[in-house]
Symmetry: C2
Subunit: 137 residues, 2 copies
DNA sequence: TATAAAATTGCAAATAACTTGCAAATGCAA
DNA sequence: TTGCATTTGCAAGTTATTTGCAATTTTATA
């Protein structure tokens, strides 16, 4: 059973920070660095535990970039159920993009019909360069 | 500069094992378990070092399954440059499939034209259920 | 508002999967 | 056969993350 969540200073701070930077992704260490300067300093364990809870509750998406060894978290609540589409991640800036368009149906259709493969959003990640980084590279 | 490789007992054993199970992927620990029973017992560090070299030389592909915390290695030499296409991994049996068909062009085309995203094979992994596991599930 | 159960926190210690340093052993080109 | 380059084994180091536990905070309810 999913357990109740209490509202706390740190959960609020973390949520607020990620929500106001919803187009970027951060590691636990990033967030720790950001919030440990505050009046009362946060603890790294607390960062991990809150990120885990916020992920479970669907506010964040947790994923690991190819070649990186730390998880990154991004605020994705407005994108609803991120299980129904797949994602693209920019290997340069790390940003996450949601493949929420009609092409999803073509993709799942092709994979199923020609390869017998039933695509799932969970764990599917495309890597490459986003429009911005493509220009500046 | 890429350095010369000597042929050794352990490199041969690891290659042979992975090549003869080319439709499956294994973790370093799997291979260590498999080969440590042999006459002369292998060392885990040696497993890691050889897997790394075999990957660099293009014989193996190294990837991390969604949700797993250890890398897996699969013999992919016959598939040539696995940078030019993307892969599908079965979340049930772990097998890796190569998306080597004309749909790759449609996929890269769509992503570039409609999302400004330049897809790269390196690090792109689709997750789901393969035909076999779909049936048995 | 007082109370108690449940959730959260901080700190230190534990994990897990690798990686590295170094001296000894092995492979190979000449 | 020799000599240099690569590989190996072992112990120790890293890094990101998790866990145990006692103290603190939150929240529901009396
Ligand atoms: Mn999404
Ligand atoms: Mn391939
Ligand atoms: Zn980018
Ligand atoms: Zn399968």
């Amino acid at each position: 059973m999913v357990q109740k969540q209490y509202r706390t200073k740190w959960k609020d701070s973390i949520t607020e920070y990620l929500e106001s930077h919803a187009d970027q992704c951060f590691s636990a260490a990033d967030i720790y660095a950001e919030l440990k300067g505050k009046e009362a300093s946060i603890n790294l364990t607390t960062v991990y535990r809150n990120l885990e809870k916020l992920t479970e509750s669907g506010k964040l998406m947790k994923y690991k970039a190819a070649g990186e060894d730390a998880y990154r978290y991004q605020y994705v609540e407005p994108y609803g159920n991120c299980q129904e589409h797949i994602h693209m991640q920019c290997r340069e800036c790390g940003k996450l993009f949601h493949l929420e368009c009609s092409f999803m149906k073509e993709l799942t259709g092709h994979l199923l019909e020609h390869h017998g493969f039933m695509l799932e959003g969970q764990g599917s990640m495309l890597s490459g360069l986003c429009g911005m980084c493509k220009k500046n590279c």
